[in-house]
């Protein structure tokens, strides 16, 4: 499918500083009381945003300077905590829709959930992460481009190499990240495996 290929993604960028930003902060649990994912974007970081407001500060997701942002720049262990897919869904549905996340490191389940949604999570080193966040803070309209095929993120005139596991990167570039069809195609082998497993057949 042409529109499922993730080759080049454009900004602007949104800088979100801090390590260990967990899924309870990304989408507080009270918003998980739902049977769809509709409307989750409005509640991304809701409590963090409120808290900063009370301190007289502005969360990047409330900052009009970053309201058009479509690529999120984070630091270490982003998305730690729950396996709730509501977290990447909320980020993906926020504002003009986040299409990619660039950071120092990601929690494993969060990373996998993002791939399932066609949202690449790529890594840069700590120095680059900080430099990029500073560049966007200085000029929110600086041109940002993630080249997933070429494994680099361009911020203004600067180019930073990015890393991503080769498997998921290829899936995203080739548009094969929506896995159900691929898994379903192996149904004969699935049944074979099931028959082979003694506990499935009841130890006959």
């Amino acid at each position: 499918m042409q529109d499922s290929r993730r080759e080049t993604l454009f900004g602007p960028g949104v800088p979100l500083r801090g390590n260990d930003i967990d899924t309870d902060r990304i989408i507080p649990a009270r918003f998980l009381r739902t049977v769809t994912f509709d409307g989750l974007g409005d509640h991304a970081f809701e409590d963090d945003r409120l808290q900063l407001k009370e301190q007289g500060k502005v969360h990047p997701f409330d900052d009009p300077r970053f309201a058009d942002g479509t690529i999120l720049f984070v630091n270490k262990n982003f998305g730690c905590g729950s396996s709730r897919e509501h977290a990447p869904q909320a980020i993906k549905r926020w504002g003009k829709c986040i299409t990619a996340i660039v950071g120092e490191s990601f929690a494993e389940i969060f990373f996998g959930n993002c791939v399932s949604l066609g949202v690449p999570c790529v890594t840069v080193d700590a120095v680059s992460a900080d430099a990029i966040q500073s560049a966007i803070e200085a000029d929110p309209n600086v041109a940002v481009k993630l080249d997933l095929r070429g494994k680099a993120v361009h911020v203004g005139v600067n180019r930073y190499p990015v890393e991503m596991g080769e498997g998921p990167r290829q899936q995203l570039v080739e548009g094969r990240w929506d896995t159900t069809g691929e898994l379903l195609a192996n149904m004969p082998k699935i049944r074979e495996t099931a028959n082979r497993l003694k506990y499935v057949s009841g130890y006959k």
Partner: protein, 471 residues
């Protein structure tokens, strides 16, 4: 070269190698609950697909259920809607539902083991990160997102990457008053909240050999808090004895065959691991978290660490933790006033957890402090019945604890059990993230059930060993 349990289980469940380089892995057991399944079933409907292996799929409801009255319709209309969706979905697809009206409901990671569904050598998944709990049985058990729930419903498989394996040995003997929860927090403190990313954790050593299944479950449960998607303990006689006679455990002629099969899944003595760490049980003290992630913890007798002494990456989070928790570096954790005490959750909501606390408080005329609200939340309806039969409910009620219905309760803010304002909660659950327990400014201190009980009685964090005379 021998193989680890992880490798053996991974290999025997491998269906195919996928173009992405990931492995298509068969899921032996798929557990579902009301929070992460509705959208997955909707996606299944949109794709015009059916559940491929309904007989390997089991459901319960735990996150949104009130622990007071479970009468329907639930007062919270969103929660009621989620119940209705789950009931509809399991009905349409022929999935066994451990429901409240059948007296079989409970926390999903309590129900699986108590029903004998969780068995060694299986792969187990659920749309819940604490699925790692089931690894205590020598299974490879991990949490998945809703889109993956859809994939498992449709195919009973997932696309997975092979993990590395870190063997964590805890040797020696735990000192009295030091529990499985303290071991879990100690390991996370040492290895960090992202130390396990990319790893499966194999827990081993004398301490684990001597642990009961409940204790193994407590530690495996919190693997994800250390970044490890799954954690396991090799199966042994303790495992088999626990399973024998349970509703879904093999029986008759199949039993001996099952035990032989399970035994063959154990890590070989010459298995190679990607990393090995060793800890001495004698070094582990009762632990309390002081901060805003489970790695920010300390021994009950210690003082809150200073950011300036920590590695650069941790300093900002520590500074924010001081602010959010209203703690100062150098402050002792002992004596921290609490408002709420919670004993329950998939981490420490099992019969032995409650029995141990009851043993400690019984006959000493100890009462929950007048300013503290203390909840005891059984992990399942059948456990609740057993607690009543054993008289534990009376012991707790006499001491001033509220004895509730089964559910996830105050672990996370999805049902009416929530903190208010800046309340401080001594909790036997697994996460202390900001706002976790339902108030955006609420504060969570994680600890063992014994320590929660002690804090409830003293009205502040205190060394349970002294309060209860544990020697």
């Amino acid at each position: 070269m021998g193989k680890s349990l992880y490798e053996k289980v991974f290999e025997r469940h491998t269906v195919a190698l996928l173009p992405s380089g990931q492995v298509q892995l068969f899921m032996g057991l798929h557990l579902i609950h009301e929070v992460t399944s509705p959208q997955a079933f909707s996606m299944l409907d949109e794709l015009g697909l059916k559940v491929a292996f309904p007989a390997r799929t089991f459901a319960t409801v735990d996150h949104i259920v009130p622990t007071t009255s479970q009468l329907r319709p639930l007062q919270d209309s969103l929660a009621e809607q989620m119940m209705v969706h789950l009931e509809g979905n399991v009905g349409r697809h022929g999935i066994r539902f451990f429901s409240p009206d059948k007296g079989e409901q409970g926390i999903v990671h309590v129900v699986g083991p108590e029903q004998g569904l969780t068995q060694p050598g299986m792969t187990i998944c659920c749309g819940d990160s604490h699925t790692s709990t089931h690894g205590a049985f020598g299974a490879i058990a991990f949490g998945i997102g809703t889109s993956q729930v859809r994939d498992v419903l449709a195919t009973q498989t997932l696309a997975m990457n092979r993990l590395k394996v870190r063997r964590i040995e805890v040797n020696g003997k735990l000192r009295p008053g030091v529990y499985a929860k303290d071991v879990a927090l100690y390991v996370i403190n040492r290895l960090g909240v992202n130390g396990g990313v990319g790893y499966a954790y194999e827990y081993a050593g004398e301490v684990f050999d001597n642990f009961s299944m409940d204790e193994r479950m407590t530690v495996c449960n919190m693997s994800i808090e250390g970044g490890a998607r799954c954690g396991y303990v090799n199966p042994d006689q303790t495992t088999y004895q626990y399973l024998k006679g349970r509703p879904f455990a093999p029986s008759g002629d199949a039993w001996a065959k099952a035990v032989a099969d399970w035994d063959s899944m154990k890590s070989d003595s010459d298995a190679a691991f990607d990393d090995v760490v060793r800890y001495d049980a004698a070094d582990i003290e009762p632990m309390v978290t002081w901060g805003i992630h489970p790695g920010q913890s300390l021994a009950v007798g210690d003082k809150i660490p200073a950011a300036v002494d920590a590695i650069a990456d941790e300093r900002e989070s520590m500074t924010e933790a001081y602010r959010y928790m209203s703690f100062e570096p150098g402050q002792p954790i002992n004596g921290t006033r609490i408002d709420v005490a919670f004993i329950g959750s998939c981490t420490n909501g099992r019969l032995s957890d409650f029995a141990e606390v009851a043993r400690l408080i019984q006959g000493k005329n100890l009462k929950v402090a007048s300013h503290v609200r203390a909840l005891v939340v059984p992990g399942s309806q059948s456990m609740r019945e057993e607690m009543i039969a054993l008289g534990l409910d009376k012991i707790f009620a006499t001491a001033g604890f509220e004895f509730r219905e089964a559910g996830c309760s105050m672990c996370l803010a999805m049902n009416p059990d929530k903190l208010q304002g800046r309340q401080v909660c001594a909790s036997s659950s697994n996460r202390n993230f900001k706002g976790r327990q339902g108030s955006p400014t609420g504060r969570t201190l994680l600890m063992s059930p014994a320590m929660v009980a002690a804090a409830a009685i003293k009205g502040e964090v205190t060394d349970a060993r002294r309060l209860f005379g544990i020697a």
